[in-house]
Symmetry: C2
Subunit: 229 residues, 2 copies
């Protein structure tokens, strides 16, 4: 193998190859070093431990579509359009990963289950992007949330309402998290097997439509408030 400049990226690529070839249970730092034609000490100069190397490669994989999503989130378009586009891009990216190379996807699922802190940080980043869209939409009047309906008139609580009165979402982060939770079927890898099934796009559109509707200003010109038939 001709000598190459040993960058972090180069090590991560080789690690992915090795993981794909040997599986996450068997792949070692020595395998990675051998694939690169260097000593394992050289790899350890870039990554302090096998765990650190695996976390870095997991992070790289998780963050693959981050820049596209971040661009959509920060984009100039109206917030409702950005929100739908962002959710659509996320779903598309997840499907590409799951469907394009199922074996690598399974490998990374195994890695991700070892690296819960990396995954949690990844999710926080994405919820942060959603929060940017929601915050922008609220600030520009493209989104609104109704005033909390006060349960004051109801002095006697009947059996069917005895649970704690819920609090409606009121800030961009809470709403962003609710959107994240409500779209789990379209981004949580536990549902990957469903992403190639017929009807999944219609299901995605239905959930998106309902969520966007939930954020739509009451006086939006797009919703003429036609009386239901």
């Amino acid at each position: 193998m001709p000598p190459v400049t040993l960058t972090t990226d180069r090590i991560l690529e080789a690690t992915e190859d090795v993981l794909r070839r040997y599986g996450p249970a068997k792949a070692t730092v020595v395998d990675v070093a051998r694939a690169l034609g260097v000593s394992h000490g050289t790899v350890y100069r870039h990554f302090a431990s096998k765990a650190a190397l695996r976390e870095a490669v997991t992070q790289r994989w998780l963050d693959q579509s981050h820049s596209t999503l971040a661009t959509v989130a920060a984009g100039p378009h109206p917030a409702p359009e950005r929100l739908r586009q962002w959710l659509t891009e996320l779903f598309a990216a997840k499907r590409r990963k799951a469907g394009g190379d199922p074996e690598l996807f399974a490998t990374y699922m195994a890695l991700a289950s070892e690296a819960s802190a990396v995954v949690a940080e990844h999710v926080e980043d994405l919820v942060g992007q959603l929060s940017t869209i929601v915050g922008d939409g609220l600030a520009r009047g493209e989104f609104s949330l109704p005033e909390r309906t006060e349960p004051t008139e109801r002095t006697e609580r009947t059996e069917h309402t005895e649970h704690t009165e819920p609090t409606e979402p009121t800030d961009p982060t809470t709403i962003a998290r609710a959107i994240w939770d409500a779209t789990g079927r379209f981004h949580d890898p536990v549902y990957a097997a469903e992403w190639s099934q017929p009807g999944i796009d219609a299901a995605f559109d239905a959930v998106c439509g309902l969520l966007l509707n939930g954020l739509r200003p009451q006086d939006s010109p797009e919703s003429p408030g036609t009386p239901p038939t």
Copy 2:
């Protein structure tokens, strides 16, 4: 053991006991018969096969909260109240099952993974109940959906909108399915470990609030349409 009238229910109870004691991998019809003090032939007169017996006990377990939920779905209260109450009851029932007897829950998760047809039918039933609530709400004007925003003005499609124009949900069953999908985090057993975590109730309320908002009539007296600040 004193002789008892051998009802289907009695067999299913004994089967649950046996499954709990031996685990789904080891429990046999002979074990069930022995627990009941009858021959396995007697059990087979009620259930044609071991698979049929396991499916019946799975169904019974899945349907445990069906009657409560069905009562809420058909109840006299306004549809938005019924919808929130139904989702709250479902989440509560799932949590009771998962948290009350985690070992039995795990046993039934294993059984359910063998009985996908039983599970699918169970989900259809529940989505049907949701559909009843949504249909009632639309018929009474307690729920509405905006007219589909026509994308006609936009003749040149830019990069960020080049995906297929989505179709908004327009019928009770599609909406019911969207509500089911959007609340998966609060009823899909894959998330059972999260149901005892702090913040889960707030997360549930946020998703519920967003969905209910998405169904709210534009001219609802409960939503005065205050301009966003």
